[in-house]
Subunit: 402 residues, 2 copies
Amino acid sequence: MIQIPQGFRLAAANADFRGKRLDRNDLSLAFSDVPATAAGVFTTNLFRAAPVLVSEEHIKDSEGRGVRGVLFNSGQANACTGEEGRENCLRSLAMVSEALRAAGEKVSPSDLLPASTGVIGAQMPMDKWAAAAPALAASLGSVDIEGLARAMMTTDAFPKMSGRELSLAGGVVRLAGVAKGAGMICPNMATMLSLVMCDASVDPAAWRAMFRRAADATFNRVSVDGDTSTNDSLYGLANGASGVVVAQDELPLLEAALVEVLSELAYMLVKDGEGATKVMHIHVIGAASDADAEKVTRTVGHSQLVKTAMFGRDPNWGRIVAAAGRAGVNFDPMALRVTLCGVELFRNGRPTDLDFDALLKEPLKNVDLPLDIELGTGPGEARLLASDLSHGYVSLNSDYRS
Amino acid sequence: MIQIPQGFRLAAANADFRGKRLDRNDLSLAFSDVPATAAGVFTTNLFRAAPVLVSEEHIKDSEGRGVRGVLFNSGQANACTGEEGRENCLRSLAMVSEALRAAGEKVSPSDLLPASTGVIGAQMPMDKWAAAAPALAASLGSVDIEGLARAMMTTDAFPKMSGRELSLAGGVVRLAGVAKGAGMICPNMATMLSLVMCDASVDPAAWRAMFRRAADATFNRVSVDGDTSTNDSLYGLANGASGVVVAQDELPLLEAALVEVLSELAYMLVKDGEGATKVMHIHVIGAASDADAEKVTRTVGHSQLVKTAMFGRDPNWGRIVAAAGRAGVNFDPMALRVTLCGVELFRNGRPTDLDFDALLKEPLKNVDLPLDIELGTGPGEARLLASDLSHGYVSLNSDYRS
């Protein structure tokens, strides 16, 4: 069981945002007893939801002051909702902070960061926010990490959590992360939301920089369907409640632990991708540059032909080779080597003489499929986790007028 | 019925390249009575099949001399087959030219351009080539355009043909085109092969330049799954047998007719894409540049979320808007307009107030779905035809170990 870092309390409530009277929470709060240093990494989509824009502003305004919490709701994404959506977002923060003040917490709306996932284009039902805010505040401290992770879920099959404890010179610090993945609701949008809480005291600039790097090494190295949502957000709060100050030379240790937490969450996102039955662990080496290697991982990992082959447990070297060959990077086709689940499929411009069917029949039944691609050109390297493409994916994403 | 341009004779035979003793031809030849000016546009994949490499060489060597024909086979792609594959390719040309010489035609192997589609990585069965070459030569002149188009097919559902007649100052000239599309065979590879025959006399440099431009405006503006094969090839032969010389100022007329022929073939490729039930006609205007507009067409047209929505007849503006927003081009989200089948879905940063379900229920049952996207930024414009993503696609491409 993952421990909540010191000085954080969690809350959750059922606001019935979906209007289906489901017996599950869809509103949650990660709250810090003291102002925390905040980091945020947000979607690169030109269309950015109201909570993304407001979170960015609040993080910027918080410099030197701190952030008290992240407020999650599932059911409405509050994206493509215009000025009214922005006002509703600010109102939702005001309602929750008022309820928290009524419960004795000194907090203002600008101390909170909003994060939304769900239907886009629809305005949030503010009466439901008003009704649920007191229940949310009342639950503060009674919710565990799994409860927080569950309240964020949309069509996720399982809650996504990861944690680490780290012994530093000043003592033990904790990291606890939650995420929700590529679940879709109508009108559908895959949104990734994630939060990592930490009870160390960390230099704000260092904290933000390590989040950008860690996100690039983890969440930006996974792919379910190549689409990016209007709401993708990763938050980091470091509140210092452990009393441990991270020294300059300990920052790499903290960053390594952060990368581990985010890596575990990122893996879970792919494994729980819509209709996913496989996780391809694509590793490209020998490219002219890391950027070239990344292009190859993405072209292979996004190839519908490769993805359907993995779903069909088909050691189809031809599709992998052809995807590498059209990635737009230069390499010598004769130098290419492709190895799937440890079995070399392609070398010297031709398939190897191995009996792929016999050797790979059992390994291809596994969920995790290592796919190693050597370009033989230079030192460039990259990794990507990618899901397969199944009937389940098509069903989930086309089931509208059945 | 599409007429064969003057001075061309067609041949076809059943070489049983698939080894399944099917009652269908898999070997065919488009033969010109006189040397023809040849154009070729080939795959940009780094992995290029032996027939692609040999065709390029023969076209280059033919300058000032001409090409006599294009030799198609389906069943073996002769890709990723190394030096042996190249030798087999040259041997196949030698066998066919020898059979043609025995039938009285003065032709050498270097007068022919090879084009292959089918299994990759396997060597061609040269005994089957030897056995079938005389039958192919004997059939010369007895095959019509549809027979040629049928012999090229792999898993294509229908033969793809298109033709035009054009009145020029010197008389009437004919264009006749055939193509095969994104059919897959195991180990699977989508290959596009196409040939346009013309009986006009055209300046070689002008003929080649118009093919490059016409391919860019047509075949390079369609997408089934975004993958490019090792064998994609477009051939053009102009033999002058009509006696009509295309004047300098008539070249645009000929090019316009060529674009029409290739456009019709390209449309058929998408319509017959694997598992395709829809053809999205994506038209982006108002981009900063044509290149930006093209990026948006490709991001939307390749989006698995958009493609599954179209399969599900779901007017999912959110997926279209989000795909445009992640295309990597700059525009003002508030200026974006999205119109599907003539119904405006999105404007001013929000969905419109129209009743999409009622208005689009019937139109979304059509095969052809116009999707217009205005970015409101500049004069850039682009078009793309893209198929949807269906259960049929997943079945065709994952059905390996069922």
